[in-house]
């Protein structure tokens, strides 16, 4: 125990470790907010899909040698998010199929482009870092930290402001529309927020593990709690605690940050399933 604390306090003298913890907690907080909505709208895989789109966009940005690749990545991802989520139920290709198409397509094209126009000596390493986010969170610059803080606060503010509308649109879109709520605008809003969150979260866990960050806390909370408000609150708490724990563990036992966070999330899901079964849904 003594050794662990010493090791941690040693690491926390480095600013990049502190940045990682701050950014990690903020991103997991904002990503868990919309998890419930996405699970219920049958869009659990959108995290996967959009993060692959972001991967494709990063590949293009790398080839174009853009100094700040977010300029390209954010708009492309948001656009695809809108295409997937806000077009509603009347599309020719339904939700899951559209996500799968987009996901596989942009992953393939991104990797192909990187191979054709290779700008780096260590291509496999770069791809691996983008997909698994192995070290990205430990190499954040000051600007990126502030960007993350700003965006997370924006996401949280928007969610709080439109909490009731998001509830109404998720629970029953037809009723919301029929009684004069502009459901399409809120669907658009949800799509934009989730795209922004995914671009943010790519820095933390990499594109392959984003789904876990968005979905796991929501699923764990839904095992035990029975009202929308308590599920949201609980998934925020779970998400923040798991991420903080994951980052600390990763430092202590020198494991990849993203994979450690997700493992902690999955263990938590197991515990909550058990808890849900024991309480029998009395909470």
């Amino acid at each position: 125990m003594q050794i662990m604390i010493e090791k941690l306090s040693l690491y926390f003298q480095f600013p990049f470790v502190r940045y990682a913890l701050i950014v990690g907690v903020l991103i997991s907080l904002s990503s868990s907010l919309l998890g419930v909505t996405l699970v219920l709208k049958r869009f659990s895989f959108i995290g996967d899909g959009l993060s692959h789109v972001a991967f494709g966009a990063i590949a293009i940005a790398t080839i174009l040698n853009l100094s700040n690749n977010m300029v390209l990545v954010v708009p492309i991802t948001v656009l695809c998010g809108i295409l997937l989520l806000a077009t509603g139920q009347h599309t020719k290709i339904k939700g899951d199929a559209a996500v799968a198409m987009l996901s596989v397509g942009s992953l393939a094209i991104g990797y192909l482009l990187l191979n054709l126009f290779s700008v780096s000596a260590n291509l496999a390493g770069d791809v691996c870092a983008t997909l698994f986010g192995s070290t990205a969170i430990l190499t954040l610059t000051m600007t990126e930290v502030w960007l993350c803080i700003g965006m997370s606060l924006l996401v949280i503010a928007v969610f709080l402001l439109f909490y009731r509308q998001i509830f109404a649109v998720t629970f029953d879109e037809t009723f919301a529309k029929a009684t004069g709520t502009k459901a399409n605008i809120y669907n658009l809003l949800i799509a934009v927020i989730i795209s922004v969150i995914i671009v943010l979260a790519m820095n933390l866990v990499g594109s392959l593990l984003i789904s876990a960050l968005v979905i796991c806390p929501a699923l764990s909370a839904m095992r035990v709690f029975k009202s929308f408000k308590s599920v949201i609150l609980c998934s925020v708490v779970i998400s923040v605690v798991c991420t903080a724990l994951g980052i600390l563990l990763a430092i202590l036992i020198s494991t990849p940050v993203g994979a450690t966070i997700v493992t902690v999330d999955i263990i938590t899901f197991g515990l909550f399933s058990l808890l849900g079964r024991m309480t029998g849904g009395k909470i």
């Binding site: 402001l161 909490y163 009731r164 629970f171 029953d172 029929a178 009202s227 929308f228 849904g281």
Partner: protein, 238 residues
């Protein structure tokens, strides 16, 4: 002036007409039941009345100060709702959204309205329960309470007894009748249960394939050849 007047409506999707020459009006306090076989355009009519889709031809006029967002709607249940974690209170409160401003909270007035409507439908004791764990009849009551939060004038009910057992069905019909008679709420109900329509409604609109077959008072309907034929056919089935 009538609460809702439809003049020479033609309804359908993407230019394909499902039903045409539809004219009827609903006065305050009426109980209109729209009957017809599957695919005759009942659901399309509901969607058009709610302005979820535009009519191909004709117009819908609202009177008596009825605003578009003052129509309470009881939709059929959706897939999503079957595992939605929401308490009964949250669902009922969400009906107040159209009368409410921005911000994350409902006002105390809106909360009182929600409580009053839950009291009216006898679901106050379920307030803290999870919506997805209720029985079909209880869920319908919750959605009806939500619809009442959105309106105190006009209710549009889409197959309100679909999937309910006979006891819950009878309870539901009695509840709707009470809302209509005691609270003076105008009701438009879609149903393929002609027997119930003939028992509870004040007016009946019978839609056949592509065209309306009957519109008028219930007493005229049951006396007409069409009404007798359909009620008899129903009686034989039962």
């Amino acid at each position: 002036m009538a609460l809702l007047t439809c003049q020479d409506l033609a309804l359908g999707y993407e230019g394909k007409k499902v039903v045409e020459n539809l004219s009827f009006s609903v006065d305050s306090g009426d109980y209109l039941c729209v009957v017809g076989e599957n695919g005759s355009g009942k659901s399309t009519l509901i969607k058009t009345l709610l302005k979820l889709m535009p009519p191909i031809k004709g117009q819908i006029l609202t009177g008596d100060g009825l605003k578009q967002n003052e129509i309470g709607y009881l939709p059929q249940q959706t897939e999503v709702q079957k595992d939605f974690p929401a308490s009964v209170k949250e669902v009922v409160l969400s009906g107040c959204l159209n009368r409410s401003g921005l911000g994350p909270f409902y006002s105390s007035g809106e909360k009182k309205l929600a409580l009053a409507n839950m009291e009216k439908l006898g679901i106050t004791n379920l307030a803290k329960r999870c919506y997805r764990e209720l029985s079909g009849g209880q869920q319908q009551r919750v959605l009806l309470a939500r619809a009442l939060c959105a309106t105190h004038k006009l209710l549009l009910l889409d197959e309100p007894v679909a999937g309910l057992d006979p006891k819950a069905t009878a309870d539901m019909y009695q509840l709707i009748e009470k809302l209509n008679a005691a609270d003076g709420i105008t009701v438009i109900m879609i149903s393929h249960d002609i027997g119930a329509a003939a028992r509870y409604a004040s007016h009946i609109l019978h839609i056949g394939h592509q065209k309306p077959l009957f519109y008028g008072r219930k007493t005229d309907y049951t006396a007409s050849e069409l009404g007798r034929a359909f009620c008899l056919a129903k009686g034989d089935e039962a």
